[in-house]
């Protein structure tokens, strides 16, 4: 009884869930490093599983958790704005490659959503789920907006975008090796376009140029997708 009261007291404090999130991330980062940095145990993925387990074990619902975690979530906004700095640092190179950037980004944004829908339709998924999947390559805050607009589940889209990020980081090294890719700019751009913030976080670790191009691809894909995905899903008859 005593311990139960103690738990209720602590769990009610938003601070508690911030601490849980940070500790989980640190432990997950440590596990990832011990495992040789494999993308299969991506720190974010491991931390998510750990937190979900804690929430299930303590029978805490997501909204209670989010009361605390929203303070971490909030920083996603300024962090997105901050991506203007690596962009500015590499502006000369980006300017020189403006045409390839635009062409690749328009093609890639359409392709990413179209292939997802195509596989989903082939497997006979229901419309609402497919609509939530469509903006999967778009950074979570934009994916939420697009999903709302086309009639998916906004919060599911945010989660699926994260799943895409993890899968993107997992498969990217093999894909780049297969393509014998040498250009850091192309690596970063593909990562930011296919796996948004996760890809960008991954590209930043590779090199500054890869990071800058990833940030650019993420922002541009977000902007273009919010314009291109609504007409695209109509084209697929959803």
């Amino acid at each position: 009884m005593e311990i139960a009261n103690f738990w209720v007291y602590f769990a009610a404090r938003p601070l508690f869930w911030i601490v849980v999130t940070l500790v989980s991330f640190m432990v997950a980062t440590w596990i990832n490093r011990k495992a040789g940095g494999t993308a299969l145990l991506h720190p974010v993925f491991v931390a998510m599983l750990m937190i979900i387990s804690v929430l299930l074990l303590t029978q805490t619902d997501y909204s209670t958790y989010f009361e605390g975690a929203q303070f971490i979530h909030f920083m996603l906004g300024p962090a997105t704005v901050a991506l203007a700095i690596p962009l500015y640092d590499h502006l000369a190179r980006i300017r020189r490659l403006l045409l390839p950037i635009l062409v690749t980004c328009v093609t890639g944004s359409i392709f990413a959503a179209a292939t997802t829908l195509a596989v989903g339709i082939l497997m006979g998924g229901d419309a609402r789920l497919l609509l939530s999947l469509a903006p999967k390559s778009v950074t979570s805050p934009i994916a939420i907006g697009i999903s709302e607009q086309i009639g998916g589940y906004p919060s599911l889209s945010a989660g699926l975008a994260l799943l895409t990020g993890v899968i993107g980081c997992l498969t990217a090294p093999a894909v780049f090796r297969l393509l014998r890719l040498k250009s850091d700019a192309a690596m970063g751009f593909a990562l930011g376009l296919s796996a948004h913030g996760f890809g960008t976080a991954y590209a930043v670790q590779t090199s500054a140029i890869a990071g800058a191009f990833a940030g650019l691809a993420m922002g541009l894909t977000g902007v273009l997708s919010s314009l291109l995905i609504p007409p695209l899903v109509r084209l697929f008859g959803l």
């Binding site: 940070l22 937190i51 989010f66 971490i72 901050a82 690749t104 392709f111 999947l133 919060s155 593909a190």
Partner: protein
């Protein structure tokens, strides 16, 4: 440091307001990023007060995704039912998109750089 954080927040706020005003479905933070980029281009350099908090945020970007990611638990039932579709469609699409865009970008980059070199305007 505080000035830098303030600049980031102001850009985000300006982005949010501008998009609401224009009625464009682009999220505020992305609009804020474009506004900040424009501001930096006009100003001509990145002040240290802005660079320090920005690079700190970018370095810890992946941590910031966790709260939203935990939200997947709300859809546990739906995902348990359709997990194969979800995983397969994401996996197939992501791998194909990575291949297409990385290949396209490298090819176009080589062509573009080759052309600028030939013209001698590096």
């Amino acid at each position: 440091m505080i000035q830098g954080v303030l600049i980031l927040l102001l850009c985000q706020l300006a982005g949010e307001l501008l998009m609401v005003w224009l009625g464009v479905p682009i999220p505020g933070p992305v609009a804020g990023m474009l506004i900040l980029l424009l501001g930096l281009m006009i100003y001509g350099k990145v002040p240290d007060a802005l660079r320090v908090p920005s690079e700190w945020l970018i370095r810890h970007l992946s941590l910031l995704f966790i709260p939203a990611g935990v939200g997947l638990m709300v859809f546990a039932e739906l995902l348990a039912q359709h997990w194969l579709l979800v995983i397969l469609s994401i996996l197939v699409s992501t791998v194909l998109t990575l291949i297409l865009t990385a290949w396209m970008m490298q090819k176009l980059e080589q062509r573009q750089l080759g052309r600028s070199k030939a013209r001698g305007d590096r």
